[in-house]
Each structure stands twice: as structure tokens, then as C-alpha cells.
């Protein structure tokens, strides 16, 4: 597992039914592209997050495939509609097999 990986997600605490809300996600990860060389001229092996998925109550909102061209600390902002109260689940998949998860609940009234 890469060190110091910390997901951060911003979801509004409440919304009206059918509202469109904006979600911002950020995960700290160095996203080593596999193109860089260290001071001895050896290639630094690729180590990135290759997939990000956001679900709401089991329904998919967005599913992103990441390539090395995504910046350090991958950031995503997107919209979602919330038909009812529930839980957003965010999952990041690392090259080394680790999976980082976080979730946020939202109240719809």
C-alpha cells in the first residue's frame, strides 16, 4: 500500500428530492507515472490509482479509468441527482491492489 493515502470527499449534508448536487473528491496519492527517473538514472516504476468509482445506494454515478496522465492527488468534481436519502460510496483502486474506500450519507427531505 502506498503511504499516506487519504481520501477526502465533499458532499452536501442534505438536499431536496431530485436535486442535483456537486460532489468533490480528492485522494492524496503521488501517482508515479513510470516516466520519471531517479538520481541514478533508473526508471521509477509506475504506481498510480487506476480506477475511481462513485455509487449512490448501489447505483452508479461515475466510473473513471485513470491513466498516468492524471495529476498527483487525483481530484474529481461531478454532479449527481439524489432521489432519496442514502449513502454515497467512493472507491479508489490502486495499481498495487489496494482499495481505498470512503462513504458519505446524505439526507433528502
Amino acid at each position: 500500500m502506498a503511504k499516506g493515502v487519504k481520501p477526502r470527499v465533499k458532499v452536501p449534508k442534505s438536499a431536496s428530492a431530485g436535486d442535483t448536487i456537486t460532489i468533490k473528491t480528492l485522494i492524496s496519492h503521488k501517482m508515479e507515472s513510470g516516466q520519471r527517473k531517479d538520481s541514478d538514472g533508473n526508471q521509477i516504476p509506475r504506481s498510480i490509482i487506476n480506477r475511481f468509482v462513485a455509487d449512490f445506494n448501489g447505483q452508479n454515478v461515475i466510473d473513471v479509468t485513470l491513466e498516468p496522465a492524471i495529476s498527483t492527488n487525483p481530484y474529481f468534481q461531478f454532479d449527481a441527482t439524489v432521489p432519496e436519502s442514502g449513502e454515497f460510496k467512493f472507491t479508489w483502486y490502486d495499481d498495487d491492489g489496494s482499495v481505498y474506500e470512503t462513504s458519505k450519507t446524505i439526507e433528502v427531505n
Partner: protein, 139 residues
């Protein structure tokens, strides 16, 4: 072997043509990827919006935004990067605007190209030229 004037001209022209085709060879890697994504179908434009800065001071984090109402998937390419593929966004039923924004790396000044697959199976394309002051590769 002594080269005649005619042969020297021929060799020179050959080298010139080769250097001319050096750049398109890079760009065609992107075209190949786009063709693989679209399956060779015709690509229109208009419904997909790609927002990127005209000038990016730091190629390590270039903010981009895509917006394609009615799209099921959007793929982003950077034709001047060592690896042209940047990201693929697949949109679920709960994403109304079918848009997202993120930050990408660009190695040098180049075109950022987005291709969207729409719900009806057609394809849309958008392109933005970005000037990069400090490249975002190597280091």
C-alpha cells in the same frame, strides 16, 4: 561511391519527407486510439464541451472539464504526451449533467482531445489546444 548531384537531392528530399512525417506519426497514435474507441464510426461535434486553459503555466496540474449531456462515456487524450490516453469517464444513471472535471499532466504544448460516446451510439469530439510553459513529465 561518389554521389551525383541528383542522388544527393533525392536523399535530401527523402529526409525532408521523413521529418515532415515525424510529427503526424505521434499524432496518429492518438488517432489510432480514437479509432479503437469509436470502432471507426463517424465522429461529429457540438454536443461535447471540453474546457481547458489556453495557457497552462505548470504542466503537472492542468484543470480540464468535460460536459456532454446524453453521453455514456467520454475518453480524453493528450496527443503530445508519451502515453496519449488520459482518462475514461463512464457515467451512471444518477449523473444528470454527464460532466466532470479533473486535473491532468501535459508534457508540452499540445492538443487535448475528448471523444464522447452518446446514448444513441454516435460519437462526438472536442479539442482544445493548451500551451504549456513548464512540462509535467520527467523531473
Amino acid at each position: 561511391m561518389k554521389l551525383t548531384r541528383r542522388e544527393i537531392l533525392a536523399v535530401g528530399t527523402g529526409a525532408g519527407v521523413a521529418s515532415l512525417f515525424g510529427m503526424p506519426a505521434l499524432a496518429s497514435a492518438t488517432d489510432d486510439l480514437i479509432a479503437a474507441f469509436t470502432g471507426g464510426a463517424e465522429v461529429g461535434s457540438g454536443a461535447l464541451a471540453l474546457t481547458a486553459p489556453e495557457i497552462a503555466e505548470n504542466g503537472n496540474t492542468v484543470p480540464i472539464e468535460i460536459s456532454a449531456p446524453g453521453a455514456v462515456a467520454v475518453t480524453v487524450f493528450a496527443d503530445g504526451n508519451p502515453v496519449p490516453a488520459v482518462a475514461t469517464f463512464n457515467f451512471g444513471p444518477l449523473n444528470p449533467s454527464r460532466g466532470a472535471s479533473t486535473r491532468i499532466r501535459l508534457a508540452k504544448s499540445q492538443n487535448v482531445i475528448a471523444v464522447a460516446k452518446m446514448e444513441d451510439g454516435s460519437f462526438q469530439r472536442a479539442e482544445a489546444a493548451v500551451k504549456v510553459t513548464i512540462g509535467g513529465c520527467g523531473g
